[in-house]
Amino acid sequence: MARDDTAVLVESPGRTTSLPTLAFQGLPSTLCKGCGHNSITSALIDACKSVGLDPYYTIKISGIGCSSKTPAYFLQYSHGFNALHGRMPSVATGALVANRTLTCIGVSGDGDTANIGLGQFKHACRRNVPVVYLIENNGCYGLTKGQFSATSDLHAHLRREAGEENVIPPFDLCLEAIAAGATYVARSFAGDRKQLLPLLKGALRHGGTAVLDIISPCVTFNDFSSSTKSWDWAKAHEEPIQEIGFVRQLPEIEVEQEAGTTTRVRLHDGSWITLRALSHSEHEVTNRAGAMRFLVESQERGEFLTGLMYVNPDRPDFVGLQEMCETPLSQLSDGDLRPQPDVLREIMAGI
């Protein structure tokens, strides 16, 4: 929560500190002006400040692509790692078991996740690795100059109105995420900051794989009027299914008062997501099979529905399942890491 322009109160287990706003900012973006990825970065910075994320205990890990460059543009007090194309999930998994106190923001693109990285993406979801997994989805490979990705729509055109036509239907990454086991799955649009902010905040406070498939127009290669990933098309067709709110660790009673038409989901750390249906009031966000049917049907109807598709705050996350000691593995002493000489003697005697 930003107190004023210069100080942000951050909360980590066991401590509360105040950090300057610049801790949440990064270097100036070198992406194209108007790129959807920049809008997401800016929303992310606000979301981090607003939930009081501690940058010292946050890591930013990305794959490769224009999208994957963005961790340089936010949270400069956090360690970042621009890793390999499609391999952000494995690096995140390793870093999180090495230090269980860290929060991980993983940034990826549609090519990075749906093409080269589909395997690692799905396995991260299957494990429920606690990572905020952002897919900045522009329906093309921005960094290698506009080629089709596996989220390019059927009949989409390559680079321009008259460009070559895509004849293969896309993956729906929300559907893939839910099928694989992700526990917080949402779709949003870089231009819908109102919706993106609470979704990001909820993801940051969710303790499992939180996948956000965010349509993020590439102004250079995929922003012509027939493109479903263009600013104009997305603005015109986006249909938020809920009005979403994020409530930070309020006492139960206050959330209760908001009841009524609102669905509430209590997140891992005690925060709440509140949802008021705008359309599709029949959609239950905690129903996995229902969420998958909902996504398949909306895809068949050609709709661009955004909002929280599925959430399950109860499934244990991968780091928790490791049964590790409280102290992060990265900080264990020699005594914890190397058994005593008598242990070696006994093992040798047994061999």
Binding site: I59, H79, F81, T93, L102, G119, L329, D336, I347, M348
Partner: protein, 649 residues
Amino acid sequence: MPTVLYSVRPRSAGADNVSSHPPVNDLAIRVGTVNGSGSQSANLVLLRAINGMGIPCSGKNVFPSNIEGLPTWFHIRASGRGYVAHRLDTPVLVCMNEQTAADDVRQLRPGSLCFFRSDFKEDLAKLRDDITFFPVPFAPLAEEAFPPVPTDKGYRDKLRKVVNMVYVGVVATACGIEMEEVRTAIRREFPGRKAKAAEINILAAEAGAAWAAANLPMDLPFKVERLDVTTGQVLIEGNKAAALGVLFGGASVLTWYPITPSSSLAEYAEGYLKAHRTLPDGKRTFSVIQAEDELAAVGMAVGAGWAGARSITATSGPGISLMTEFVGLAYFAEIPVVIVDVQRMGPSTGLPTRTNQGDVVKLHYLGHGDCRQIVLIPGSVAECFAFTIEALDLAQDLQTPIFVATDLDLGMNLWLSEPFAYPEKPLSRGKVLDAKALDELGQFERYRDVDGDGVCYRTLPGTEHPLAAYFTRGTGHNEKSGYSERPEDWKRNLDRLALKLNGARAKLPAPVAEHDVGAKIGLIAYGSTHPAMTEARDLLRECGILSGYCRLRALPVSEEVSAFVGKYERVYVVEQNRDGQVCSLLRSSLEGTLDDRLISVTHYNGTPIAAENITNPILNWERTFSEHTTLTNGTGLPGESARGGDSSE
């Protein structure tokens, strides 16, 4: 120049006359069985019984890539002279598998003994008249020892396994292996709740022994006698040794994907970690992750190393290929991680259960652009233990991937060793700055060479200090880890990495060199070739050829190697790959014209290397040289490989 006529001392079984008895304690047994028939326990019992008599011994499993049904062989060697390498001529053959029996018999040297199942359709004895054949009624003997249990549905299956223990008794009696040691070994093989199975198997072995005592001549030629020179030693596989290295090296994250012959390393390590690194409250000081593939396995290990864990992954050649992209990144981004490569033969199908040293140079250059990786090469199980620990420390010290290159022979076969020594040094933590240090310094640049040794300081995520964070990237970067495409930044980084690598040489396990006084030839080898080298040098000595021997234990090679090569007229580089990879590497890195002295000797058919695979080609070369008058450096010696290593097989 004296001309010596070289000939290899005939091996015991090579004697023309069966009655000329070879020395005791020079025994090799080959058992041909069917994979999945439970013969492994029987083979281990034989091996342990010999070990119990204090005779140096080794056991090698030559097995198929199959779960059940294909042929498999077990080689046991006992040697009073301490030779534990693979032996090509096994004077005692046990045929339990008719499929391969005839072929196995054809390979025997004259004078050998062959025990075979009397129920084979083919009468093996008709194949040769220079072998002594003993048909043994294994099945009836087994059934006598373990009569049918009508209530036991699994009886047939158990009987099939018990049959194997009968040959243990037969061979033990024929070769002088003490039955008391056999009984002890069986009880060891079937401990605790399996005590009943132990007693059944003991009866089966005793039935075999009784049959042998009644039916075999007393004076069979291949005998062992109690020696008690290996007291206190352990029999252990390299993978188990390396797994103990994971435990005592303080590894905290182990990631892996199953692949023969490295899987057992990770599985043993997981077992040891669970047993010895679990706190009283049940919480663990480690994490083991079986990844979805080797790409993810190494990605997790790199992520963990970056975040401050002591991370390690184990794989074999095909897995290394998948790991390559991450290794290149970790080299440039300078992230500590340890990768154990238990080498096997060929591509992903290849010969996954056969041994080879074909990855060594690939590992050294793994990555993209200008990469040179550090590779530790253990030559014994004790070194598998020590080098795994060393690798975990070096990774921290040097902030780079460290490879440990073993192979299937070292990793999956049983070797004798003194009990491993507890590590003396505390764990290395490398150059890591915490919040307090950052406060004192007042500045931090991730890739600035503050100490002038090419190794920079790093910080870990979770450091509460505004100066701590940096952005790790494979892209061109400046000292602040900022994006840079400036030629001078890229070059400065590469030069620093070269400086770091150069400085590392002194920290790596140094080569071990031995010299015979008056030797004119030198030998270079590494890894699992070592036991065969020891024996080969003795055989060469018996032919009048003295040698110096330098065992490499790491890449990049130490400068001492040039000095070693400089001492000899010729230096044979012996390795288990076709193209003499390390020989080529040495040729390009030795000082001056020393490269002219190198001759490559190679072995690459998938079986473990034997002394003859080394001595035969070397003797051929030496004959060639002795036919010339003067043999000095640079006289147009044939320089290319003497690829005769496998021709005899």
